[in-house]
Subunit: 156 residues, 2 copies
Protein backbone atom coordinates (compact mmCIF):
# COMPACT_ATOMS: atom_id res chain seq x y z
CA UNK A 1 0.00 0.00 0.00
CA UNK A 2 1.17 3.47 -0.82
CA UNK A 3 -0.30 6.80 0.25
CA UNK A 4 -0.99 7.82 -3.36
CA UNK A 5 -3.93 10.18 -3.72
CA UNK A 6 -5.36 11.42 -7.01
CA UNK A 7 -7.84 14.28 -6.78
CA UNK A 8 -9.78 15.38 -9.86
CA UNK A 9 -12.95 17.14 -8.81
CA UNK A 10 -15.75 17.19 -11.40
CA UNK A 11 -15.85 20.26 -13.60
CA UNK A 12 -12.34 21.44 -12.73
CA UNK A 13 -9.32 21.65 -15.03
CA UNK A 14 -6.83 20.03 -12.68
CA UNK A 15 -5.51 16.74 -11.41
CA UNK A 16 -3.64 16.77 -8.12
CA UNK A 17 -1.52 13.77 -7.18
CA UNK A 18 0.20 13.39 -3.83
CA UNK A 19 2.53 10.57 -2.85
CA UNK A 20 5.37 9.96 -0.43
CA UNK A 21 8.67 8.27 -1.18
CA UNK A 22 10.98 6.74 1.40
CA UNK A 23 14.04 8.69 0.26
CA UNK A 24 15.58 12.16 0.73
CA UNK A 25 14.25 14.74 -1.67
CA UNK A 26 17.57 15.24 -3.46
CA UNK A 27 17.29 11.65 -4.67
CA UNK A 28 13.65 12.01 -5.66
CA UNK A 29 14.32 15.27 -7.45
CA UNK A 30 17.27 13.78 -9.32
CA UNK A 31 15.09 10.87 -10.48
CA UNK A 32 13.05 13.45 -12.43
CA UNK A 33 16.00 15.19 -14.08
CA UNK A 34 18.42 12.32 -14.83
CA UNK A 35 17.81 10.48 -18.14
CA UNK A 36 19.16 7.19 -16.74
CA UNK A 37 16.69 7.38 -13.87
CA UNK A 38 13.77 8.26 -16.15
CA UNK A 39 14.46 5.18 -18.29
CA UNK A 40 14.15 3.01 -15.20
CA UNK A 41 10.90 4.28 -13.69
CA UNK A 42 8.90 6.50 -16.08
CA UNK A 43 6.00 4.74 -17.80
CA UNK A 44 4.55 1.28 -17.54
CA UNK A 45 6.35 -1.90 -16.43
CA UNK A 46 5.93 -3.73 -19.70
CA UNK A 47 7.05 -0.74 -21.76
CA UNK A 48 10.42 0.69 -22.59
CA UNK A 49 11.02 4.42 -22.14
CA UNK A 50 13.37 6.15 -24.55
CA UNK A 51 14.64 9.53 -23.37
CA UNK A 52 14.94 11.52 -26.57
CA UNK A 53 15.84 14.67 -24.64
CA UNK A 54 15.93 15.98 -21.09
CA UNK A 55 17.49 19.40 -20.60
CA UNK A 56 16.55 20.12 -17.02
CA UNK A 57 16.82 23.92 -16.99
CA UNK A 58 14.52 26.83 -17.77
CA UNK A 59 13.80 26.70 -21.49
CA UNK A 60 15.15 23.17 -21.77
CA UNK A 61 13.20 20.68 -23.81
CA UNK A 62 12.24 17.15 -22.87
CA UNK A 63 10.86 14.29 -24.93
CA UNK A 64 10.15 10.73 -23.83
CA UNK A 65 8.92 7.90 -26.04
CA UNK A 66 7.16 4.96 -24.46
CA UNK A 67 7.41 1.78 -26.55
CA UNK A 68 5.01 -0.94 -25.52
CA UNK A 69 5.60 -4.68 -25.80
CA UNK A 70 3.94 -4.72 -29.25
CA UNK A 71 6.29 -2.04 -30.51
CA UNK A 72 3.76 0.81 -30.50
CA UNK A 73 5.38 4.12 -29.67
CA UNK A 74 3.83 7.00 -27.75
CA UNK A 75 5.67 10.31 -27.62
CA UNK A 76 5.44 13.00 -24.98
CA UNK A 77 7.26 16.32 -24.91
CA UNK A 78 7.40 19.75 -23.38
CA UNK A 79 9.65 22.49 -22.05
CA UNK A 80 10.86 23.36 -18.57
CA UNK A 81 9.59 26.63 -17.13
CA UNK A 82 11.45 26.20 -13.82
CA UNK A 83 13.91 23.72 -12.34
CA UNK A 84 14.76 24.57 -8.73
CA UNK A 85 16.72 21.73 -7.16
CA UNK A 86 15.53 19.94 -5.04
CA UNK A 87 12.28 21.79 -4.46
CA UNK A 88 10.27 22.32 -7.60
CA UNK A 89 9.89 21.54 -11.30
CA UNK A 90 7.41 23.30 -13.62
CA UNK A 91 7.09 22.01 -17.16
CA UNK A 92 4.66 21.84 -20.05
CA UNK A 93 3.45 18.44 -21.20
CA UNK A 94 1.96 17.38 -24.52
CA UNK A 95 0.99 13.86 -25.61
CA UNK A 96 1.87 13.62 -29.29
CA UNK A 97 -1.18 11.43 -29.90
CA UNK A 98 -3.31 14.49 -29.16
CA UNK A 99 -1.29 17.34 -30.63
CA UNK A 100 -2.23 20.85 -29.59
CA UNK A 101 -3.46 19.81 -26.15
CA UNK A 102 -0.98 21.06 -23.59
CA UNK A 103 -0.95 20.98 -19.82
CA UNK A 104 1.14 22.73 -17.19
CA UNK A 105 2.52 20.39 -14.53
CA UNK A 106 4.18 21.41 -11.27
CA UNK A 107 6.09 18.98 -9.06
CA UNK A 108 6.85 20.15 -5.50
CA UNK A 109 8.98 18.15 -3.09
CA UNK A 110 9.06 18.50 0.70
CA UNK A 111 11.21 16.42 3.01
CA UNK A 112 10.26 15.30 6.50
CA UNK A 113 12.10 12.70 8.59
CA UNK A 114 13.98 11.44 5.56
CA UNK A 115 10.82 10.93 3.51
CA UNK A 116 9.80 13.04 0.54
CA UNK A 117 6.27 14.24 0.02
CA UNK A 118 5.51 14.99 -3.62
CA UNK A 119 2.72 17.25 -4.83
CA UNK A 120 2.15 16.84 -8.58
CA UNK A 121 -0.39 19.35 -9.90
CA UNK A 122 -1.51 19.44 -13.54
CA UNK A 123 -3.73 22.11 -15.08
CA UNK A 124 -5.32 21.55 -18.48
CA UNK A 125 -6.53 23.92 -21.20
CA UNK A 126 -10.10 22.68 -20.69
CA UNK A 127 -12.23 20.42 -18.52
CA UNK A 128 -12.64 18.16 -21.57
CA UNK A 129 -8.86 17.80 -21.88
CA UNK A 130 -8.63 16.96 -18.18
CA UNK A 131 -11.45 14.41 -18.43
CA UNK A 132 -9.85 12.89 -21.54
CA UNK A 133 -6.61 12.36 -19.62
CA UNK A 134 -8.51 10.60 -16.81
CA UNK A 135 -10.39 8.41 -19.30
CA UNK A 136 -7.10 7.38 -20.92
CA UNK A 137 -6.20 5.49 -17.74
CA UNK A 138 -3.86 8.15 -16.45
CA UNK A 139 -4.65 7.37 -12.80
CA UNK A 140 -3.56 3.72 -12.88
CA UNK A 141 -0.67 4.66 -15.16
CA UNK A 142 0.64 7.23 -12.70
CA UNK A 143 0.21 4.80 -9.81
CA UNK A 144 2.32 2.17 -11.59
CA UNK A 145 4.97 4.63 -12.64
CA UNK A 146 5.35 6.06 -9.13
CA UNK A 147 5.54 2.50 -7.74
CA UNK A 148 8.43 1.93 -10.11
CA UNK A 149 10.04 5.16 -8.86
CA UNK A 150 9.69 3.82 -5.30
CA UNK A 151 11.51 0.62 -6.33
CA UNK A 152 14.19 2.58 -8.16
CA UNK A 153 14.82 4.72 -5.09
CA UNK A 154 14.95 1.64 -2.82
CA UNK A 155 17.77 0.20 -4.96
CA UNK A 156 19.76 3.32 -4.16
Amino acid sequence: MTDLQVVANPGTQEIIITRSFDAPRELVFNAFTDPDAIRRWWGQRDSETIVDGLEARTGGRWRFVERDKDGNEYGFHGVFHEVTSPVRIVWTFEFEGMPGHVLLETFSFEEQDGKTHMLDSSVFQSVADRDGMLQSGMESGAAESFDRLDEYLAKG
Copy 2:
Protein backbone atom coordinates in the same frame (compact mmCIF):
# COMPACT_ATOMS: atom_id res chain seq x y z
CA MET B 1 -15.87 50.13 -29.46
CA THR B 2 -14.07 46.85 -29.89
CA ASP B 3 -15.46 43.33 -29.75
CA LEU B 4 -13.27 42.42 -26.77
CA GLN B 5 -14.76 39.75 -24.56
CA VAL B 6 -13.27 38.52 -21.31
CA VAL B 7 -14.81 35.39 -19.83
CA ALA B 8 -13.84 34.22 -16.35
CA ASN B 9 -16.56 32.05 -14.91
CA PRO B 10 -16.65 31.81 -11.10
CA GLY B 11 -14.78 28.86 -9.65
CA THR B 12 -12.84 28.06 -12.82
CA GLN B 13 -9.09 28.31 -13.38
CA GLU B 14 -9.22 30.08 -16.70
CA ILE B 15 -9.60 33.44 -18.38
CA ILE B 16 -10.66 33.46 -22.02
CA ILE B 17 -10.21 36.64 -24.02
CA THR B 18 -11.44 37.05 -27.58
CA ARG B 19 -10.87 40.08 -29.79
CA SER B 20 -10.69 40.90 -33.47
CA PHE B 21 -8.07 42.99 -35.21
CA ASP B 22 -8.49 44.66 -38.58
CA ALA B 23 -5.34 43.12 -40.07
CA PRO B 24 -4.20 39.84 -41.65
CA ARG B 25 -3.09 37.26 -39.15
CA GLU B 26 0.54 37.24 -40.30
CA LEU B 27 0.78 40.83 -39.07
CA VAL B 28 -0.99 40.09 -35.80
CA PHE B 29 1.14 37.02 -35.20
CA ASN B 30 4.33 38.95 -35.91
CA ALA B 31 3.31 41.62 -33.40
CA PHE B 32 3.59 38.92 -30.71
CA THR B 33 7.01 37.66 -31.74
CA ASP B 34 8.89 40.80 -32.80
CA PRO B 35 10.60 42.71 -29.96
CA ASP B 36 10.15 46.07 -31.73
CA ALA B 37 6.43 45.46 -32.00
CA ILE B 38 6.12 44.34 -28.36
CA ARG B 39 7.76 47.58 -27.21
CA ARG B 40 5.09 49.55 -29.05
CA TRP B 41 1.92 47.83 -27.84
CA TRP B 42 2.49 45.52 -24.87
CA GLY B 43 1.52 47.02 -21.50
CA GLN B 44 -0.09 50.28 -20.48
CA ARG B 45 0.00 53.59 -22.38
CA ASP B 46 1.82 55.52 -19.68
CA SER B 47 4.41 52.78 -19.18
CA GLU B 48 7.50 51.78 -21.09
CA THR B 49 8.04 48.13 -22.03
CA ILE B 50 11.58 46.81 -22.09
CA VAL B 51 12.01 43.54 -23.99
CA ASP B 52 14.72 41.76 -22.04
CA GLY B 53 14.36 38.64 -24.21
CA LEU B 54 12.04 37.18 -26.83
CA GLU B 55 13.17 33.95 -28.44
CA ALA B 56 10.04 32.95 -30.31
CA ARG B 57 10.68 29.20 -30.71
CA THR B 58 9.98 26.09 -28.68
CA GLY B 59 12.12 26.32 -25.55
CA GLY B 60 12.84 29.98 -26.15
CA ARG B 61 12.64 32.35 -23.20
CA TRP B 62 10.88 35.68 -23.03
CA ARG B 63 11.07 38.46 -20.44
CA PHE B 64 9.37 41.84 -20.53
CA VAL B 65 9.77 44.62 -17.97
CA GLU B 66 7.08 47.26 -17.67
CA ARG B 67 8.37 50.54 -16.22
CA ASP B 68 5.63 52.91 -15.10
CA LYS B 69 5.82 56.71 -15.13
CA ASP B 70 7.12 56.71 -11.53
CA GLY B 71 9.97 54.39 -12.47
CA ASN B 72 8.54 51.27 -10.82
CA GLU B 73 9.47 48.13 -12.72
CA TYR B 74 7.36 45.00 -13.10
CA GLY B 75 8.94 41.93 -14.65
CA PHE B 76 7.20 39.10 -16.49
CA HIS B 77 8.79 36.02 -17.98
CA GLY B 78 8.20 32.56 -19.34
CA VAL B 79 9.13 30.03 -22.00
CA PHE B 80 7.60 29.14 -25.34
CA HIS B 81 6.09 25.67 -25.61
CA GLU B 82 4.97 26.16 -29.23
CA VAL B 83 5.33 28.82 -31.89
CA THR B 84 3.44 27.90 -35.07
CA SER B 85 3.34 30.87 -37.44
CA PRO B 86 0.80 32.42 -37.96
CA VAL B 87 -1.65 30.17 -36.14
CA ARG B 88 -0.73 29.55 -32.56
CA ILE B 89 1.54 30.47 -29.65
CA VAL B 90 1.68 28.55 -26.36
CA TRP B 91 3.84 29.96 -23.59
CA THR B 92 4.18 29.99 -19.82
CA PHE B 93 3.76 33.28 -17.99
CA GLU B 94 4.98 34.32 -14.55
CA PHE B 95 4.66 37.75 -12.92
CA GLU B 96 7.86 38.26 -10.97
CA GLY B 97 5.94 40.12 -8.25
CA MET B 98 4.30 36.78 -7.40
CA PRO B 99 7.07 34.27 -7.95
CA GLY B 100 6.09 30.63 -8.18
CA HIS B 101 2.67 31.34 -9.67
CA VAL B 102 2.71 30.28 -13.29
CA LEU B 103 0.03 30.18 -15.95
CA LEU B 104 -0.19 28.55 -19.36
CA GLU B 105 -1.40 30.91 -22.09
CA THR B 106 -2.46 29.92 -25.60
CA PHE B 107 -2.99 32.45 -28.39
CA SER B 108 -4.85 31.20 -31.48
CA PHE B 109 -5.34 33.32 -34.58
CA GLU B 110 -7.93 32.80 -37.31
CA GLU B 111 -8.33 35.01 -40.34
CA GLN B 112 -11.60 35.83 -42.07
CA ASP B 113 -12.13 38.51 -44.73
CA GLY B 114 -8.82 40.13 -43.88
CA LYS B 115 -9.59 40.36 -40.16
CA THR B 116 -7.93 38.32 -37.46
CA HIS B 117 -9.88 36.74 -34.64
CA MET B 118 -7.72 36.08 -31.58
CA LEU B 119 -8.53 33.57 -28.87
CA ASP B 120 -6.31 34.09 -25.82
CA SER B 121 -6.83 31.36 -23.21
CA SER B 122 -5.00 31.33 -19.87
CA VAL B 123 -5.13 28.51 -17.33
CA PHE B 124 -3.88 29.05 -13.80
CA GLN B 125 -2.50 26.69 -11.15
CA SER B 126 -5.47 27.48 -8.89
CA VAL B 127 -8.75 29.37 -8.79
CA ALA B 128 -7.12 31.71 -6.25
CA ASP B 129 -4.33 32.52 -8.71
CA ARG B 130 -6.89 33.21 -11.41
CA ASP B 131 -8.97 35.42 -9.10
CA GLY B 132 -5.84 37.27 -7.99
CA MET B 133 -5.02 38.08 -11.61
CA LEU B 134 -8.53 39.45 -12.15
CA GLN B 135 -8.31 41.55 -8.98
CA SER B 136 -5.00 43.02 -10.12
CA GLY B 137 -6.87 44.83 -12.89
CA MET B 138 -5.86 42.41 -15.60
CA GLU B 139 -9.10 42.91 -17.56
CA SER B 140 -8.72 46.66 -18.08
CA GLY B 141 -4.99 46.19 -18.60
CA ALA B 142 -5.55 43.67 -21.37
CA ALA B 143 -8.19 45.88 -22.98
CA GLU B 144 -5.78 48.82 -23.10
CA SER B 145 -2.89 46.75 -24.37
CA PHE B 146 -4.97 45.20 -27.18
CA ASP B 147 -6.26 48.68 -28.12
CA ARG B 148 -2.63 49.70 -28.49
CA LEU B 149 -2.02 46.62 -30.65
CA ASP B 150 -4.94 47.73 -32.85
CA GLU B 151 -3.34 51.16 -33.26
CA TYR B 152 0.05 49.62 -33.97
CA LEU B 153 -1.45 47.42 -36.69
CA ALA B 154 -3.31 50.39 -38.23
CA LYS B 155 -0.04 52.27 -38.62
CA GLY B 156 1.16 49.36 -40.79
